[in-house]
Point group: C3
Chain length 430, copies 3
């Protein structure tokens, strides 16, 4: 019986793999393929029972959002590089061609493999010189969401965008099955406003924050059908933890770059804090329709091209002429407005530089940028194409109150709180 199942599996897997290599529709694979929004999955070919992949390290031009192109480094024409997807038990052979102006190597982050395949140049293998092609080969002994990135001049190469996901599906599919699985690589960049090349020397004061090397509103929406079981995996090879917050849902952390988290250890969260050098996979059942914000909760990380040295003008009256004079000296200067920044979204700025906050929604400006996207949950859809904005059922949207509804205390400071700082029962129980 076990032999029979193994045979069926073997046939299925082999057959499925052949289909995949021929770009067949995903539902004929023995797994539900992952989705890399604004990215792609690396094709493979089967050769004598081994899945062969080919990564090409090279400079790439990446459009972060319409109006801004960055001189990045990546793989196969994009940053992040294409997602590698395989099955536990597969033998994989990965060719890496170096078309960069300097040497490189690839580390398979989180993957159990022979020491000589681990990719730390100098320690585990020679550096891959420009125009060389190296070959890595190993058998996948685990499942989970892992990553690949250089381990040669790695600070520079990662700061310029060289990284990608490596997904290993379990040999025995999970029950209940996952219907949708999105992969999002978190990125931090410093690109001097008006220029296009990231500065890898910057350690803390970044000014662009990306989901798969795109900034809102350049990020594709994440579309799911109501009722689907959905996973999101976040990878982080930047310099800071990124707390990724979902609106309207809570999720469980079901995986790390060490593999699946046992059920007993899973915790509910509405924000998953993704540490550097890690992946985090969260899961939810999409049972409430709507357009749900999904973003890094560090507020500066949902802004674009912020210059953190601008003077503070909150509460300072600025005659219109003043700001213009400042801008004559400092091109691209955007003063913090006297009443906040919401009115500063689209001010004049250097070329190849995005507005700080932007994105138009169904109810007006969303005033975001950077690490922000929208989870769109819809009943009855027949395609994952962008369904447009959510149509709220009547009476379910926050709205202006009628004067007669507003409580009497609206005029003053109203409810100043019924308890002081040490409130609660005045006396502890005896």
């Amino acid at each position: 019986m076990i032999r029979f199942v193994a045979l069926v599996l073997f046939v299925l897997l082999t057959f499925g793999s052949r289909l995949a290599s021929a770009q067949a529709p995903g539902h004929r694979l023995p797994y539900v393929p992952v989705v890399t929004p604004n990215g792609s999955t690396l094709p493979f070919t089967m050769k004598d029972g081994v899945k062969e992949f080919h990564l090409i390290a090279e400079p790439v031009k990446r459009e972060f959002a319409p109006g801004m192109i960055v001189n990045a480094w990546g793989y196969n024409g994009s940053t992040p590089g294409p997602t590698i997807e395989a099955i536990e038990g597969d033998r994989v052979r990965i060719f890496v061609t170096n078309k960069l102006p300097e040497r490189t190597s690839v580390h398979w982050h989180g993957i159990l493999l022979p020491n000589g395949m681990d990719g730390v140049a100098g320690l585990n293998q020679p550096h891959i010189e420009p125009n060389q092609t190296y070959v890595y080969e190993f058998t996948l002994k685990q499942n989970g969401v892992f990553m690949y990135h250089p381990h040669s001049d790695e600070m520079v190469q990662m700061a310029l965008g060289m990284m990608g996901f490596f997904v290993i599906h379990p040999r025995v599919p999970e029950v209940p099955k996952v219907d949708r699985h999105f992969l999002v690589m978190l990125g931090e960049w410093f690109v001097e406003p008006g220029t296009g090349t990231p500065n890898p020397n910057i350690m803390t004061d970044f000014n662009l924050f990306t989901f798969n090397s795109r900034v809102w509103p350049g990020t594709d929406p994440w579309v799911v059908k109501k009722g689907e079981r959905v996973r999101f995996s976040f990878g982080n090879l930047s310099m800071d933890s990124h707390p990724i917050h979902v609106h309207g849902y809570r999720f469980n952390e079901v995986g790390t770059d060490g593999g699946p988290v046992p059920k007993s250890a899973q915790r509910p969260e509405s924000t998953v804090n993704v540490p550097v050098g890690s992946t985090r996979t969260v899961e939810l059942v999409a049972n409430v329709e709507g357009d749900w914000a999904f973003h890094c909760h560090k507020s500066h990380h949902t802004m674009n091209a912020m210059n953190h040295d601008v003077p503070n003008m909150v509460g300072v009256k600025q005659p219109p002429a003043l700001e213009e004079r400042v801008r004559a000296i400092l091109p691209g200067y955007m003063a913090m407005g006297e009443t906040g920044m919401a009115n500063m979204m689209e001010m004049g700025r250097p070329k190849n530089t995005l507005p700080m906050m932007t994105g138009e929604g169904p109810f007006g400006p969303i005033e975001m940028g950077g690490m922000f996207s929208v989870l769109k949950v819809r009943a009855g859809i027949t395609s994952y194409a962008d369904p447009g904005w959510y149509k709220n059922p009547p009476g379910t949207v926050a709205h202006e109150a009628l004067a007669s509804e507003v409580p009497h205390n609206a005029a003053g400071h109203g409810g100043k709180g019924g308890q002081n700082g040490q409130g609660g029962p005045a006396k502890p129980p005896p």
Copy 2:
């Protein structure tokens, strides 16, 4: 039977709610009310079975500690805003009046609700313009410690102090019950020394760190009776994780902004790292008396108004005249002393600026500031008013040793260690 229990619960809850709306003592509520040190709880009124709350977004003057007032933004006269407290199953209606100079909105962080009530202006609702009052209404389907904050020009509005807690008690009270539950919002600010308005452009180099928008020694002590089961919930809407450390105890992480953590997944900690965009609830039984420090463990976060660019004088001999001369050029200049900083606590400084380290304890200066408070555990107290400093039982305080007690090696470097860096057994087992 179940119906009877439900009826009793219904009566209790309704009755309790009516009492609460009349500001009755907390012990007649169907739950133990939370405590927001240096803050307050928002009162509500019952209207046709709905709990009505009223938040007023407005500029506020906040005293961080005696001697320093900050021009912040908050709700109902304070930052953080008053805590909203309700019960799982309640229907709530929340009016939000905008008395700010710019538009705003409110997002109910972590709460499961209809998409149109989620509060992302532009995406889920229109912005609330100045002088408008909006109304949000939804039914609470979960329990835990959540937050509210703007989602309109949110970087600026949160940097200025707009945030608060939203606590939902479970419908069926927990066993064993929690006797005390403190809520503490963590804050980071940059206020240029000598000024009073926070600069929201700052992303990393903050200079004031607060518990409920207060700095030590302006933070109220957290007073509990010996033996009580105590919870602490920390909320973080700043730009950095804050690792909050308790002295003399360990606690379990029992909740997040996703809800209660299952028993099997709880971990013991003496420091709870609170990520941005999250709440963390920890629990301990206060079984050891004393005055226990409770603070952020990032050492700069227990300092006030630090200027991180001052030159380094450790080990440099400074004639007294030198520093005075520097201060003539740089008002407020505080040199790092040649022997450390402990002697620099109360030096001259600009107006509306706190000393860097301060706070007088029973044994001398505590030399702290910022995110620091004291958990005071006392047997036999009949009030939660500050009981003063702990009186240690004789013989239980660290003290100077008699010369005769000190080991012989005290004169030199003494114990240089019995093992070298690769110590342990000289040989591994065969």
Copy 3:
């Protein structure tokens, strides 16, 4: 029976302790002693059934790596201070002599003890003035990996290196037993290039990152025998979380400074994020031979003496004469190379300053610094001395591919991905 076991344990423990105080080989202790790489363990003496330790707070010269000596503060001649090691149930008496130029105190981080022994100067005890010796005494009621550090001018004293581990072994040894247990204190420093004294005013822009106050390649390798059960404990009293990544393995988080993590709550990871003010203990079985990189995954933290303000030259052609001219003005200037930084490792630099990236491996330069070490797993070793570089079995090292092996698409961008950003099944199931 239980009494008999207790008696045997008592005899063993007492006997073991006596041996330890006489510096007997570790395997005769009732526990496997921990290893502090590049550090030491503090000896003790038994006095009337109490384990007496003696810490001496004092300035120390610490060699971070050959070529760089730092004027630090520490204990007993080193930073971190020597590791204190004891057994649950022990009564300990710790003398602390202050040989610093300013007052100090010691806090026993994570340890359950009487309030007067907790070490917060001003709050729990007087400050220890220079040349005073204080005595702390308490009974150990728990087990785990804890820390000690000052709580008097603590920002300065910790920034200068004052910290150490405090390990409490369980009274009943764990099954299966741990064969090797390494302790690594994580450190961040700012030492202006060309100088030797850390600047404690720096809050975010550090330039040296250490394992036990050493930088790669000054860090000892962590040597284990194949098949051993190994623990690594990381302590963090710096200003940032450090995500410590192991190559080729995954581990479980088995302990914090709150004590052991229950089995049900353990999660697999390949990177353990160590928050500030915490310890994290991870465990793996070393079943795969090799030289495995083990490092902080924040890429700037595996660099030395980085000046984060240098201009960005990636993609900019620099005639050789230009850089020399810049260096004439800015001694120690290291331009970012036009093709990355790998070729900049050993450029001219100020005295007492380490190269940014260095370390020679068996396959060429490893190009690392800072928080980096190598886990060396070997079968059949009879000593934990450095076994040299791993000899990979033939055919297990990534290597240049033969031209005939390389897939046809190597010439161009090749596999641009079989799926677009919203790939997967074209239609959701009905």
